[in-house]
Symmetry: none
Subunit: 232 residues, 4 copies
């Protein structure tokens, strides 16, 4: 496995670029926690995968728990970076929401560990991240954007009147999240592989359809605009 990275390490020889060991531990931990959950993860496996001395985990992170917090902050930072790249402000409201919805799905597909780590943290009542000031504000920019686009869409007459930005955010996220987070048990009861590419594409289209139908369709039954063609 790691034969190619083993460079004839002589006993007592140290010295990796500073911060390198820390990064390796964090990366290995993210994988391990995602794969096994918090309690199921083994610090032992983490340091072995990272190829560092068992002690460094404690040297850098203090405990398994604080390592987990570091992993979660890493995850949230990734998610924010992903959203930051979307440049949603520049788009028309409907395009912005569509892009966000698709990007959310794509992010979860690309980084399976994000979902698993969030699920793990929820099983633990978010007790590890509750005190992180940084995490508490990671989503503020995105929520602000959604709010603005909803407002603009309403002003332009393309969105229904009474949209709650927080609910919309939860819906957009949840429609992707649940499909992927629960694809294993869903796969059992549906007797179907939800991870298959075609199936995933179908789901992606469905989600956009649901979100935009909701936004266009007023509770009073009024229809806002002729729907555009659904791009792949």
């Amino acid at each position: 496995m790691d034969a190619e990275t083993t460079k004839r390490r002589r006993p007592g020889q140290a010295t990796r670029p500073p911060g390198e060991s820390q990064r390796r531990i964090l990366a290995a931990a993210r994988q391990e926690f995602a794969a096994k959950g918090f309690a199921g993860a083994r610090t032992d496996s983490i340091v072995r995968a990272a190829g560092v001395n068992p002690n460094l985990l404690y040297h850098y992170f203090g405990s398994k728990e604080r390592l987990f917090v570091a992993v979660m902050e890493d995850v949230y930072a990734d998610v924010r970076a992903h959203h930051g790249d979307l440049e949603l402000e520049a788009l028309a409201p409907e395009d912005a929401i569509r892009r966000l919805t698709e990007a959310t799905f794509d992010l979860f597909v690309a980084s399976d560990d994000v979902i698993r780590l969030l699920s793990t943290e929820n099983i633990h009542h978010a007790e590890h991240i509750r005190d992180s000031e940084r995490i508490a504000h990671f989503y503020d920019p995105l929520l602000a954007i959604i709010e603005r686009q909803v407002e603009r869409g309403r002003a332009l007459g393309v969105f229904r009147a009474e949209v709650d930005a927080q609910e919309l955010f939860i819906t957009i996220t949840g429609l992707s999240y649940f499909y992927l987070s629960n694809r294993h048990t869903l796969g059992v009861i549906l007797r179907s592989d939800l991870n298959a590419r075609a199936r995933r594409e179908r789901r992606r289209r469905h989600i956009v359809d649901v979100v935009l139908s909701y936004l266009r369709h007023g509770a009073d039954g009024t229809q806002r605009l002729p729907p555009p063609q659904n791009p792949a």
Copy 2:
């Protein structure tokens, strides 16, 4: 110690009604697994909570893993029973979907452990339930009902043409599930208590709104029916 108190498996000398210990272990296990996840759960806590001898767990269930499978079967049986009580067949399509959507939300609210156990099992890639024939078919009746109601709704002209029953099922479930399963991490980034009654009511109405908007609103922009008043 005392010879006269040494009992040698005489019939009728059980200190508890037969099966009672088994039930108590299962109930305690369900709680413990829901609270701590599979790896985090302690057999010790389970038997202590059940008030039985540690050995009985192995006597009845063989291992922690097989006990977990039993818990999952118990959970799925509960869910099915819940759905079975809804009598969706007798309702008009739209009413049936609305009732199912609301009932799904209510079930997850009432039995928090269902969500946590499903999440736990998904972190483990459904490896525990994969081989359970019983679980694989638990949802068949519900999926059949959804399919029929979608078909009827289309025939009646109240639902859009191209509805996929499986996607609809996942959407209905996911819109409730995600809100509740991830309410702890969402609570942190939204700085809001998603468990508050008013907040939950709002979410419940939102979900019904989303689902019905989607069903009524054709991708071609045609509107099916004037929407009814949203009942509380």
Copy 3:
């Protein structure tokens, strides 16, 4: 030792007389803590010396710390039992104090671990025994006896007027304790083996001499009684 209780121990067969393992752990722990102090003691060595499974230490005592508390209670119980055997009430005041003084010295000589464990506990500010109600009252009977004998001695005119029983108790104990507890460092600076029998005898006589001189000799210079011959 335990040959008569050994009943053909087959592999995997457990079953020592109940409480036996617990007793063995306690005895081994007392030795180890006395020899190495609290932090220096190794739970590993304890269970190896006791010949029991490592886990039983935690099964019976919960932690290294609680095991140490159990050892201390054992020690204090021993000391009290030793004092209880002296039947000091029946003696004349002077004889009672002499016997107590000599017995204190003899006890510390015989049970070296008592001194070492008490010293260890004092290094730790008595934090382990502070909450033990049992230990707090172990010395009450002895202190009551000293008080009564001091009172009787004064009434009989053989002891000085102003004796404080607590100070006397501390003095009697300390004169023996310090010689033995610090015999190693004293041995270095005195270049002498304080553990040699003749040397110990000399100390024992000296201590009795000091204590009785104090009791007989009033601060006002009055002499109470002609001193008796010092018995060996």
Copy 4:
């Protein structure tokens, strides 16, 4: 990392005056060893408290054990310095012994760490100081003084005939030492705070009383001198 900041042992570039780091380590070690005992002390805490690099401990002292020896030599040097300041030679025998007795008590009160370090070393059978030639002779001057004063006291007819200087030294030291070293466990069984100022004063007077009673009071019952007033 940066090549230009790499310094190669140029004279005068030390960040602290030479020997300063060594002194800081020694002071921190003395505190830590006194507080936790030898095994309980952490080299880590020592270097952190000293504010120096972990490596310096080994650079200057070689090992935790040799550092402990250095601390003990430091302690003994302090004690000797304290005794050297007393100018006992110039006093009358009785005054010299009284002053020594009181000063011993006061020293132990003032430097609590002395007692704790000596106790620690005794638990370890004085193995660390056994080979220190310097420590072996630290008390020689004081013992010589006691011997001389005892001799003079006898010659003047104020002390009893048969006083052993070593025993007297041990008694004087022990009466103070035990009260203070064991004040925590004594406090538990006496349910009293031996560290309270009034209580300590009482003990101090008691000790002087015991020592002088012993010296004045011959085993033959003869009284040497009218006792003076006990000074506070």
